[in-house]
Symmetry: C2
Subunit: 286 residues, 2 copies
DNA sequence: ATCACTTACGGGTGACGTAAAAATC
DNA sequence: GATTTTTACGTCACCCGTAAGTGAT
């Protein structure tokens, strides 16, 4: 059989046009590549190139071979990632999240439910989450909406409601018991975490005239917020998880718009239902 | 990337169950295969096997990997044959035939139309002919019936009519001018060539009570026929091509059944129409 | 003169086979 | 004791890089 490195070399030549350039990109010497192409022709027992003394170009056969070689290389890449994902899925519960809230809360339960497995968490956009779910990168994903598909199960798994976090001196702090709407705060400048998943789109849309001071590090965020007088955000989830640490003077005012409540859904491939039975039960019972 | 020989080794192990047996079939030593499997696991960074001290079996990951590896190997096989076929199609006019008649006649014209190309001819059954046409093994095929397909063109290219070849003393020789039907000769024993393509099915069907003495070598056939008193077969085509050689006493009597006339069709992939333009014109004009 | 490809030559990686050990049946 | 796998070790194939040669721009 013909080894993969020869197919890679052929594809590189097809991509870069000359032996020298292709060899450079392959990190091998140019004579080595020249020999590889000769060897490939020899093994295939076919002429793949039009050769002049100082130029080599793919002929029709060569173009076809390169196209087929590329598909083979892609198949192998796919195989490698599939095998790696599958293997790691046996040792780790890997989840993808659309927001930080569930990503902070759920791993606590997962480590209890699956004490021998590693737990890995990642935040990504919808598209990447669903792709990762299909390729086996994620065991399940948490979306901010229901997702119906014949290969998947979709389980509602709680909600998260956004709050404004204000210093008591802020005028809007008077609304503590009534709640506020986005429009009432539109135009204010907020301190905000850099990576808050789909919350980002929501706040941008509902507070079109506001400015947002982004803080990349979640660890530093609460310190930054406490050191500032600017309004910020919290949620019932973060308030519950971090109350003791954050509760130094700020007041939390519920946002009344229905958009401010995110309804999470856990999506799992049906073929993995068995494996996550405990988790599914946990979500359904709580 | 992971080289092909490792995937082949994995598939062999999957096929034969033990390292020893797989190594034997791969024509390598068993320790070599053991090392290859360790290397594969290392490269994939995944566990593929359940190992006991003297037994190695594929685990779930390994089974999946083997299945995907097998598909990759098939892809590469496909690529190799496709490239070889394509390359040889540039140097040879390769045709597949359903009967010997056109296979004897057409190469004469092909060598004249394509003086610089090799001409290769093969007789096969319908299924193999169409498969070979699609995979590029054949540039065109000659079928005994029309074949309509969106990827192909189908050109009628003459007919061939079967004759009985009899010694003058045979009672049926009286029908020289009228012709005979299959049923009139049913039950006779015939001398026949071993490989006559679809004629075989036809004669078996139309002469269900006859016996056939098969002669494998076409070269020896006419000698055998002439040395025998048994009836045999000829066709307008073979009579025309070999009249001088065969015409020693035997008389040829046309078979009247419509089934005894084969209407040939030349089938070519549309994408190859250009390449066989001369041939197509030739067939249409004669 | 520079660039691009091929041929020639020597070197090192790594895949192989043989041998031996360990463990199971 | 026979079979199967793994480890150890020496060998050889083969792929690589450097250097040199040829022809084209």
């Amino acid at each position: 059989m013909i080894e993969i490195y020869l197919l890679e070399a052929l594809c590189a030549l097809s991509d870069y046009g000359t032996l020298s350039s292709a060899a450079e990109h392959l990190h091998i010497s140019q004579p080595a590549l020249s020999r590889s192409m000769q060897k490939l022709e020899d093994l295939l027992d076919a002429s793949l190139f039009d050769r002049t003394k100082n130029r080599i170009t793919l002929n029709e056969t060569g173009k076809m071979a390169a196209a087929m070689a590329r598909r083979i290389l892609e198949s192998e890449e796919d195989m490698i990632t599939a095998v790696r994902n599958y293997d790691s899925s046996l040792h780790t519960v890997s989840a993808g999240y659309c927001t930080p809230g569930p990503m902070m809360e759920m791993p606590l339960h997962l480590t209890q439910l699956y004490p021998k497995m590693k737990v890995s968490s990642e935040m990504e956009n919808d598209e990447a989450l669903l792709k990762g779910l299909r390729t086996g990168k994620y065991g399940f994903v948490i979306l901010s909406h229901a997702y119906e598909d014949e290969d998947m199960v979709c389980i509602p798994c709680g909600s998260e409601s956004l709050y404004f976090s204000l210093i008591p001196a802020h005028p809007a702090a008077l609304f503590k018991d009534q709640g506020l709407t986005f429009s009432q705060m539109n135009g204010e400048t907020f301190v905000m975490a850099g990576d808050i998943g789909v919350w980002r789109d929501l706040t941008m849309k509902m507070l079109p005239d506001s400015r947002f001071v982004l803080q990349e590090s979640l660890e530093a965020l609460s310190a930054v917020i406490n050191a500032s007088t600017l309004p910020a955000f919290a949620s019932d989830l973060t308030i519950r998880l971090f109350r003791s640490r954050e509760d130094n003077g700020r007041i939390f005012i519920r946002i009344l718009d229905p958009e401010a409540t995110m309804h999470y859904h856990c999506v799992i491939l049906k073929k993995n239902q068995e494996r996550y039975a405990k988790w599914i039960t946990f979500l359904e019972e709580r």
